[in-house]
C-alpha cells in the first residue's frame, strides 16, 4: 500500500482532471471548442497513477483519455485550456488541437492521432538516452506510453514493443482496457483471454490491475515503473476499467451494454469512499479540493479566453525548420 500522501495526491489529481474534463465538455457544448472533446472520465485512477509515479526526466506519451496522467506529470491547466480553445499562446499555437498537445522539453510527447504510432517514439527517446550515456544504471529514466484495448491491435504498437524488448529499454506500456474501442466491444477486437497475455510474447513483464481501484493502480503501476527503473526491461500494465463517457463529446455511448456498465464503478467515487472510510480525508477536505479545482479550472478557462487566437494573416505557413535549404551545408 502506498503512503497516504501519494494516495491523496492521486485523489487530488483525479478531482482536478475530472473537473477539467467536465469543464471542457461544457465548453464544447457551449460551442467554444472546435472538433470533438475527448474525456478520460473513469480512467483517472490508472492514468493519474502513472503520472504520479513519473519524475522529471522521464517521458510520457499520453493519449486521449490521459488528462489525469498529464496533470500529474506536470501539465499546466493553461496548456490545456489554451490548446482546447485554440489559443496562439498555447503549446500548439492553434496549429494542432486538444488532445494532441504536448510539451516535449518537459517530457510530454505531442501525440499524433494514429494509434500505436507514439510507442516507438518513446522507445526512441529511451534508446537515445542510453546511447548518449544519459542513463544511470539501476535508476533509469523511464518512458510511459499509453494505449487502449483497440490500439493494442495496431502493427505500429507490435513493432515498437518488440524493439523495446530487444533493447531491454525502460518502457512501460499502460494499457487501459476500457471494454470498447469507440463503439466496438473487445470481443470484436482481440481473442486472448486478457490483454496481459501479450506481454510474454514480447519478453516483457506483464502486470494487471483493477483500473477502478486507485490504490491498486498506484501499486501496480508503481511496481512496473520501479522495475523498469531498476533495469528489468519493458513492462506492460493492463488495467480493467470502463470509460464513463462517450468516445468524444459527440458520442452518447449508447452502445455500452448494461451488464458491462454494472461491472465497473467510478474510480473517483471509489477512491473517495476508501479515503474517507479510512479517515485519510474528510468530507470537508474533499469539498475544499473540489472547490479549489473548480476555481483553478475556471481561472485557466478565463485566462485562455482572454488570450489571442492565431491570426491567419500573420501565420508563417512553413513546415520546415530550415529556412534556407539551397545554401544548407554541414558546418
Amino acid at each position: 500500500m502506498s503512503d497516504s500522501a501519494l494516495r491523496i495526491k492521486l485523489f487530488k489529481t483525479m478531482v482536478l482532471a475530472r473537473t477539467l474534463d467536465d469543464r471542457m465538455a461544457k465548453l464544447k457544448a457551449q460551442g467554444e471548442v472546435a472538433g470533438s472533446a475527448f474525456l478520460g472520465r473513469g480512467q483517472e485512477a490508472f492514468s493519474g497513477a502513472a503520472g504520479i509515479r513519473l519524475r522529471p526526466g522521464d517521458v510520457f506519451a499520453p493519449l486521449i483519455r490521459d488528462q489525469a496522467g498529464r496533470l500529474a506529470f506536470g501539465e499546466s491547466l493553461l496548456d490545456v485550456t489554451r490548446t482546447v480553445l485554440g489559443r496562439r499562446t498555447g503549446p500548439m499555437r492553434g496549429r494542432d488541437g486538444n488532445v494532441h498537445r504536448g510539451d516535449w522539453p518537459a517530457g510530454r510527447l505531442p501525440m499524433i492521432s494514429h494509434l500505436g504510432a507514439m510507442v516507438g517514439t518513446v522507445v526512441g527517446t529511451l534508446l537515445a538516452r542510453r546511447i548518449a550515456g544519459r542513463q544511470q544504471a539501476g535508476d533509469l529514466n523511464v518512458g510511459v506510453a499509453a494505449i487502449g484495448d483497440g490500439g493494442m491491435n495496431t502493427g505500429a504498437l507490435h513493432e515498437a514493443l518488440n524493439a523495446a524488448a530487444v533493447e531491454r529499454l525502460p518502457l512501460i506500456l499502460l494499457v487501459a482496457d476500457n471494454q470498447y474501442a469507440y463503439s466496438t466491444s473487445t470481443d470484436r477486437t482481440f481473442a486472448c483471454k486478457h490483454l496481459v497475455e501479450r506481454a510474454v510474447g514480447y519478453g516483457m513483464a506483464g502486470h494487471r490491475c483493477d483500473g477502478t481501484d486507485a490504490d491498486a493502480c498506484l501499486d501496480t503501476v508503481g511496481e512496473a515503473i520501479a522495475a523498469a527503473r531498476a533495469g528489468k526491461g519493458p513492462q506492460m500494465v493492463v488495467a480493467d476499467l470502463l470509460r464513463l463517457a462517450g468516445h468524444g463529446t459527440h458520442d452518447d455511448a449508447s452502445y455500452v451494454a448494461e451488464d458491462v456498465k454494472s461491472r465497473f464503478g467510478d474510480c473517483l467515487q471509489l477512491h473517495e469512499r476508501t479515503l474517507t472510510q479510512q479517515g485519510i480525508l474528510d468530507v470537508a477536505a474533499i469539498a475544499a479540493m473540489r472547490d479549489e479545482a473548480r476555481t483553478q479550472v475556471e481561472a485557466a478557462v478565463e485566462q485562455a479566453r482572454a488570450e489571442p487566437q492565431p491570426d491567419p494573416a500573420a501565420e508563417e505557413w512553413m513546415a520546415r525548420s530550415e529556412r534556407d535549404l539551397v545554401n544548407l551545408r554541414a558546418p
Binding site: 494509434l115 469507440y182 491567419p312
Partner: protein, 323 residues
C-alpha cells in the same frame, strides 16, 4: 438525399443485390453504423457481411485483397482517410500490383472519408489522392455530387481493379440533392464531366473543391462578366485527359483548384498534362491553386485560410483573365 445517404443507399443496394459484397471496417456494425453513419442499419440486415474490424488498417486491406481474390467484392471503410497511411503498402504494393503480376483481378473498394472540416486538425482532414494516384494498377475516384457518390460507388464495386474511393466528409451532411437512382443518367466511372459550361476559362476541380469552383464560376458570371467552365475530374486516376483538353481547347485558360497540398498530386498532373498536350491551346500559363504547404491546422480560422475557397478562385480567375 444527402451525399452520405447516397453512399449508404448504394451500399444497402449492393449488399442486397450481390452476395459477393461485404463491408469491413472499424465501428461500422451494430446500431452505431460507422463514425459517419455510412453503414447505419446495414449490419442488422446483413450480419455476416457487415463486420467490425480491429484497429488494423494494414490487415483490413490485406483481408479485402484476399477476399477479392477469392471471389468477393469487399468494401473497406477507413474511419478517416488519414489512417489509410497505415495501409499504404497493401494498397500500392499489393492491391495495385496483382493484376500486372498475375493477370488476376483484385476488385476491392477502399472508402476513404477525406477532406477538411473545421477543428479536424492535421490528422482528420487530409486529401489522400496524391498518396495513391502515382501508382499503376489503382483507380482513384473522388465524387463531388450526391448522384456521383451513389453511382460511382456502385461502379467502383463493379470495377475489377482496386478502387480508392475518396469521400468528402464536409459534403456528407452539407450536400443535398434530389435524384432518382432508377432513372438518372450517369457518366462512366472514369469520365470527367463539365459541370458548368463556359467560354473564357476552365476551372478543374474534384471532390469538395468542385463546389467552390461552381460558386466562383457563378460569381465570375454574375459580377465580372467572365464565363468559366467547371470540369469535375470525378476520377483522378486515370485522368480523363480528353475532357480536360477539350475544355481547354475551348477556353484557352485553365485554373486547377485543389484542397490538397501544392506539391505533386493531381493538381501537378493536370498542369503537366495541359502543358504537354494542350500547349497550343494555352493562351496563358496554367494556374494551380492549392492548400498552404503545411499540415492542416486545427484552429478554424487557420483552417479556413489553409485551402483555396470561392474567393481565391475568383481572384485567380480575374488575374488570369488579364494575362
Amino acid at each position: 438525399m444527402k451525399y452520405l445517404e447516397a453512399i449508404r443507399l448504394a451500399q444497402a443496394e449492393l449488399l442486397a443485390e450481390d452476395k459477393r459484397v461485404f463491408i469491413y471496417g472499424q465501428d461500422i456494425a451494430g446500431p452505431f453504423g460507422g463514425a459517419f453513419k455510412a453503414t447505419k442499419g446495414l449490419s442488422e440486415r446483413f450480419p455476416e457481411r457487415v463486420l467490425n474490424s480491429p484497429i488494423s488498417e494494414d490487415a483490413m486491406t490485406a483481408i479485402a485483397i484476399g477476399a477479392a481474390m477469392d471471389g468477393l467484392r469487399p468494401i473497406v471503410e477507413f474511419q478517416f482517410a488519414d489512417f489509410a497511411s497505415v495501409a499504404f503498402n497493401q494498397l500500392v504494393n499489393h492491391a495495385g500490383t496483382i493484376y500486372y503480376r498475375t493477370g488476376l483481378p483484385c476488385p476491392i473498394v477502399a472508402r476513404l472519408p477525406a477532406g477538411g472540416t473545421p477543428g479536424g486538425g492535421p490528422f482528420h482532414c487530409q486529401m489522400p489522392e496524391a498518396w495513391v494516384s502515382h501508382h499503376p494498377g489503382l483507380v482513384v475516384v473522388a465524387p463531388a455530387t450526391v448522384a456521383d457518390a451513389y453511382f460511382m460507388l456502385k461502379d467502383a464495386v463493379a470495377c475489377r481493379d482496386p478502387v480508392v474511393f475518396i469521400e468528402h466528409k464536409y459534403l456528407y451532411y452539407h450536400l443535398e440533392a434530389e435524384f432518382d437512382p432508377r432513372t438518372a443518367e450517369h457518366p462512366g466511372l472514369g469520365r470527367a464531366v463539365v459541370r458548368r459550361p463556359g467560354e473564357d476559362l476552365t476551372i478543374v476541380a474534384w471532390s469538395g473543391m468542385v463546389h467552390h469552383a461552381l460558386a466562383a464560376a457563378a460569381e465570375l458570371d454574375a459580377n465580372h462578366g467572365i464565363s468559366a467552365e467547371v470540369v469535375d475530374l470525378r476520377c483522378v486516376r486515370p485522368l480523363d485527359s480528353e475532357t480536360i483538353l477539350a475544355s481547354l481547347s475551348r477556353t484557352g485558360r485553365i485554373i486547377i483548384a485543389s484542397e490538397g497540398w501544392p506539391v505533386g498530386g493531381p493538381g501537378a498532373e493536370v498542369a503537366a498534362l495541359v502543358a504537354e498536350r494542350g500547349f497550343t491551346y494555352l493562351d496563358a500559363p496554367p494556374v494551380r491553386l492549392a492548400a498552404q504547404d503545411t499540415p492542416i491546422p486545427f484552429h478554424p480560422d487557420l483552417f479556413a485560410a489553409h485551402h483555396p475557397d470561392d474567393q481565391a478562385i475568383v481572384q485567380a480567375a480575374l488575374d488570369l483573365a488579364k494575362f
